[in-house]
Symmetry: C2
Subunit: 338 residues, 2 copies
């Protein structure tokens, strides 16, 4: 079985964006009470949005199941307040639940959290519990920068986040560290903000004792771990200079990278430095990069091809990357795809 740990519902029917546009427009009048409202989407519209996109690519590329969450760039936690974020997150998560109900063999849900700048993370616990206990989701996406590029929240290793981590540990669900769109003109979302956040989170983990406090807490850092594998020597050296655990030891049971790296040399580097126990297959499909690489004639984000082509690791390691590690990091997946 091949599990893609990183897919977002980037192709959702238009009614979802129409809801969001109306919600955001409503914020212009602060005396107007925020109401949750309705997202009117039919099952047929959901089927249509997936059949020629994620499902088609699953079939063509030979992957089985996608760990699926709302569109990351649309989370936009910086818009409005925590009520805005809660309404929007619940609608997005409900839509993912409908996708999973329609295609239980193809998709397993991961939720967007109703984060909001300055709002304490325990305000997300209710929605996390709802998604895991009632909708059958197996993890969450955690935004380390709800401000959207201004980085005003405490580091992920700050005790400020601990109430949420306690709940994640209790529910036995991991978080993918995933920022959303950037409202800072310095940061292109998918070309800078995403990758920067990955690198930033790793360095936060490396310099604190978070996993001493939470030995079973698990994070997936997407996009191949940001810049970390390319600078693996730098991180090994910094850790050594600071008398911190080597990066490989830090990661062991707690930090995992996906394979959303869109060329073969990058994937080769990833598997050459990062332990194969800490790599999860992911493609971000349909996501940041949608084109076909003229050099290969294949989609940039068809990351399975790069792994299939690797000769530096064997079949057992590939099975871990394609399936075993995802089952370990997201243990609730076993029941979801039983």
């Amino acid at each position: 079985m091949i599990i893609d740990c990183h897919g977002h519902y980037t192709t959702a029917p238009r009614a979802l964006q129409a809801y969001r546009d109306a919600q955001v427009a409503g914020l212009e009048n602060p005396t107007h009470p925020q109401t949750k409202g309705v997202v009117a989407i039919t099952d047929d519209e959901i089927r249509e949005s997936l059949e020629n996109a994620q499902l088609k690519f699953q079939r063509e590329r030979g992957t089985d199941v996608t760990i699926f969450s709302p569109r990351a760039s649309a989370m936009a936690h910086h818009v409005g307040d925590r009520t805005t974020s809660l309404h929007w997150s619940q609608h997005c998560n409900d839509l993912i639940a409908r996708v999973c109900a329609l295609y239980p063999k193809n998709f397993v849900g991961v939720c967007q959290l109703p984060q909001s700048p300055g709002a304490p993370p325990d305000s997300c616990i209710g929605e996390l519990e709802r998604c895991v206990n009632e909708l059958g989701f197996i993890g969450c996406n955690l935004n380390p920068d709800p401000s959207g590029g201004h980085w005003t929240a405490p580091p992920l290793t700050d005790r400020w986040w601990y109430p949420l981590y306690e709940k994640m540990v209790e529910l036995d669900v991991p978080a993918m560290v995933h920022v959303s769109s950037s409202c800072n003109p310095n940061f292109h979302a998918t070309g800078a903000h995403y990758i920067n956040a990955d690198t930033t989170a790793f360095m936060q983990f490396l310099t604190a004792d978070l996993f001493v406090d939470f030995p079973t807490l698990r994070f997936v850092i997407p996009h191949g771990g940001g810049a970390v594998p390319y600078h693996w020597g730098r991180y090994r050296g910094l850790a050594q200079d600071m008398k911190r655990p080597p990066p490989g030891d830090l990661m062991r049971n707690n930090v995992f990278f996906d394979t959303c790296v869109y060329h073969r040399p990058g994937i080769e580097l990833l598997v050459s430095v990062v332990p194969s126990d800490n790599i999860l297959f992911g493609s971000e499909m349909v996501g940041a990069v949608r084109g076909i690489d003229a050099e290969t004639g294949q989609y940039f984000d068809d990351t399975k091809r790069y792994i299939d082509a690797l000769t530096s690791i064997g079949a057992a390691e590939k099975r871990k990357i394609f399936e075993g590690n995802a089952r370990k990091v997201y243990p609730r997946i076993a029941k979801a795809i039983a």
Copy 2:
């Protein structure tokens, strides 16, 4: 000849930091007028600070000349105001000039700019001209985030920066894009902020027409180009989706990466995707990572070893990386080391 394009005076005599400490302490009393003051350092102290550090490593590693600038993490443009920054920058630059005068075969100067949050970049022109025309410097370090991790300045492609670029073009000097320390607790300086800034700058360049407006403007993005080579497929794909020039075309005459990547797999990746015309040898020595890698028994930042060991490129390409490209990007070096 082997030219190291990236060295900072991280080992400066203590009197420099003592000056800075007093300067910063003086800011606590805002009614106290800022005075430039004196940094009292003898030539012998300068010699001593280099003989067992940068000079020793040059000899041991077989490099010839280092393009040398003030300590990047100490620029701290976010401290005080533009007067603070000007006094501090002038002292730091003067010290570099003394290093170059004492060891004219070993060091060529690059200046720190007196940037300050909100201060327009043309306020740096005077110091740039002084350093180039009077001190014989061949380039500058440009901080894309003078706020120190809050990213409040416009992107490097904004016309806000153009007056400085006009002067750089007139003087025929490049800038290394280099942030300083971070006062945002999210960003570890050398482990996150530096690398993020590199990635951020590249994506800014990729999404704007800066080099149409300034065909001869040149930037060195240090630390191996941040995350860019590892995600080369992502950048190629994003550029294609956005109908922007491919990254290799963007870089051609304008954007260059150094080799401050502290392990061989990273260097191998760098040269496998980035044109060898756009790579400059650099080590950041003595810099972010100072230890010896137990796996190799060599210093992490002895990047010359990784390049020497490469078999994927030939002698001609190595000569470009070690010397030719630096002469092209920093044309004033010819006179400085004649």
